[in-house]
């Protein structure tokens, strides 16, 4: 919502683009069939399109709007998400425009009781978190997609019907210049919390709703306070309300505040009430003296809801259409981007006939598994942020009081921010080999290491599978080389990335001090098989003949 007299896209700082409607081939009567249709041009849908394009698969993206999101909404992008964006070649504008951060503070009764620092070292290319308004997130992705010949963005195209058949999916699409039918091999539903595709297939989200509503409001204000996450509990000004504050680019500040249980949410979001409450927080809680302007606000309630199955035949649900999670811990958008990357590469491998359709069976266990992991954490953090009862409230206040001087209690004030999920239970993941005492286990994402002034391990991954091979001088065991050649000759996209202590050629990454070897628990001869989404499929201290082939077959859904 915006102040009276301002349209939904009338922002203080952001010029909303207006994307033109272009008559699609279907309206010209030509026969067309698409490999992949994506419903929803939000951050998750467009990320999926970019991931498909990266693997050479065309897609068409449909959205009923002709612009980006009406408000800042999802503002925190995690390091893991930046690594996804880097693979799509679009990390640049995010890092340039976004505000990176590592720190947060928790206040109880207006005293700072705890500071947290998210893990960050010189080994990382990206900071743990970047704040950026969702409009920018969407714009940067759409700009990138517009450059690709493999992505067709169709604006003002509302999907009104979905029909699934044995060999494809048919959509009914309504546009300003008439309705048409769109046929595709596979459908990605990225159409958000109120997913039309979900309804059309008669599917429902299951889970629970939490007590407590939040208003999320953006204001423009000049302040020198650094980019940190601030959480206020039991402030003198608003003792019943938990308050969260984040800085965003363009002098925009996000203020989230909890409504008390007896407050009428409809009255709470009236402009006059928003101005009163936000003004009080700015002056009395944040101690800011400058004037501020109201930009945008919305109402929020915490849910943990998910589909029972994220895949229904040729339809895969990605992002909020598949799951709704509480905002605390910033998992909504970040998990949606991981869904998009996961569904994207698998669909590409199936469509390019490098894997059977069974590869898609792993989508739900991997990504729904990630959602359930989020739920387990989100329940705790939501009960902490918005205590549902007298008992939880007393315990919360007790933990915060003790945290003032006692580290053992400060863990309760930790925001439990998003961490990438390990696909340890996935059908694509091999059991870990004994003998590794360091490095990412099978199912976990590869972690970064600095290799030079501006060179990091993840920069060197191929776009398909990568065999990360550790070697003394860069040479590969002849049996392994032969196996790689055979796989490549059979059409598998697998690149070799060799790390050597004493590199003999330019095609190897030099690790003269052995830091990378140590971080990955590797000896000369050790190897990691890495999936296109950077998760480890398998690792070996020293692969035996046939190991690589077997692991790749498993990672592609089995024979």
């Amino acid at each position: 919502m915006r102040p009276a007299g301002r349209a939904e896209t009338d922002s203080l700082y952001f010029d909303y683009p207006h994307f033109p409607f272009v008559r699609p081939a279907e309206l010209e009567g030509g026969p067309t069939r698409h490999r992949v249709a994506i419903v929803g041009a939000g951050p998750v849908g467009v990320t999926a399109a970019l991931e498909l394009a990266r693997h050479g698969v065309d897609s068409v993206v449909l959205d009923d709007k002709d612009t980006v999101n009406d408000g800042s909404r999802a503002i925190c992008i995690s390091r893991h998400s930046l690594e996804i964006l880097q693979q799509l070649g679009v990390d640049g504008p995010f890092v340039e425009k976004g505000l990176g951060w590592t720190r947060g503070r928790t206040y109880f009764r207006d005293r700072e009781i705890y500071r947290f620092e998210m893990p960050h070292t010189q080994q990382e290319r990206f900071l743990p978190m970047y704040n950026l308004q969702q409009q920018y997130i969407e714009k940067f992705l759409i700009d990138k997609a517009a450059e690709s010949e493999r992505i067709e963005l169709r604006w003002r195209s509302a999907v009104t019907g979905v029909r699934q058949e044995e060999d494809g999916v048919t959509l009914e699409v309504a546009t300003p210049e008439g309705d048409y039918r769109l046929e595709c091999d596979y459908l990605l539903a990225a159409d958000g919390a109120r997913s039309m595709v979900r309804k059309a297939l008669g599917l429902a989200l299951h889970g629970e709703a939490y007590e407590g509503r939040y208003v999320i409001a953006d204001i423009r204000m000049h302040s020198d306070f650094p980019t940190e996450r601030r959480a206020f509990f039991h402030s003198a000004a608003l003792p019943d309300s938990t308050i969260l504050v984040h800085k965003q680019p363009d002098d925009i500040w996000r203020i989230d505040y909890q409504l008390s249980p007896d407050e009428d949410p409809e009255a709470a979001v009236e402009e006059g009430n928003i101005r009163d409450r936000v003004g009080q927080i700015v002056r009395e809680v944040l101690g800011e003296r400058d004037d501020w302007e109201l930009e945008w606000w919305s109402l929020y309630k915490a849910y943990t809801l998910a589909l029972d199955d994220y895949r229904h035949g040729r339809v895969l649900f990605i992002g909020d259409s598949a799951h709704l999670v509480p905002i605390f811990g910033v998992r909504g958008l970040n998990n949606g981007l991981a869904d998009a990357a996961n569904a994207g590469w698998k669909l590409a491998w199936v469509l390019k006939e490098q894997a059977s359709e069974r590869l898609l069976d792993s989508y739900t266990p991997e990504r729904r598994g990630a959602t359930l992991d989020v739920f387990a954490n989100a329940g705790k953090s939501t009960r902490f942020m918005t205590p549902p009862s007298r008992g939880y409230r007393l315990m919360r206040d007790a933990a915060l009081s003790l945290a003032l001087h006692n580290d053992y209690a400060s863990g309760f004030a930790n925001p439990r921010q998003v961490t990438p999920y390990t696909y340890a239970e996935s059908p694509l993941t091999l059991a870990d080999e004994a003998g590794f005492n360091a490095g990412p286990m099978p199912g976990a994402p590869l972690f970064n290491r600095r290799l030079s002034e501006d060179g990091f391990l993840l920069d060197y991954l191929g776009s398909g599978f990568t065999l990360l091979h550790f070697s003394h001088d860069g040479s590969i065991d002849p049996a392994l080389a032969e196996c790689l050649n055979a796989l490549q000759a059979a059409g598998q996209r697998i690149d070799v990335l060799t790390v050597a202590r004493q590199p003999g050629s330019d095609n190897t990454l030099a690790d003269r001090n052995g830091n990378l070897f140590a971080a990955y628990g590797a000896d000369p001869g050790s190897a990691y098989l890495i999936r296109p989404d950077r998760h480890v499929a398998a690792r070996w201290k020293r692969p035996e003949p046939g190991d690589l082939e077997a692991a790749l077959a498993t990672a592609l859904g089995g024979n």
Binding site: R109, K380, R390, G391, L394, M395, L402, L404, Y408
Partner: protein, 67 residues
Amino acid sequence: MTDTTLPFADLERTYERLAETLDALPEAQERLFLAQLALALAHRVGDLERVMAAIEEARQGVEETSA
């Protein structure tokens, strides 16, 4: 005497169980319940010095955050 402390994950479970137990009690019984719990835990700690330190910790927390 041992200096063992509870791992954080167990402290979290304690937090949740206490919250639920408190919710199941009439509010008027809250103080009596918490005082009994303090004595029952002190009995199990088996070290007067550590019990006194815990009492002081809690007293400080109340004093400094309720000003």
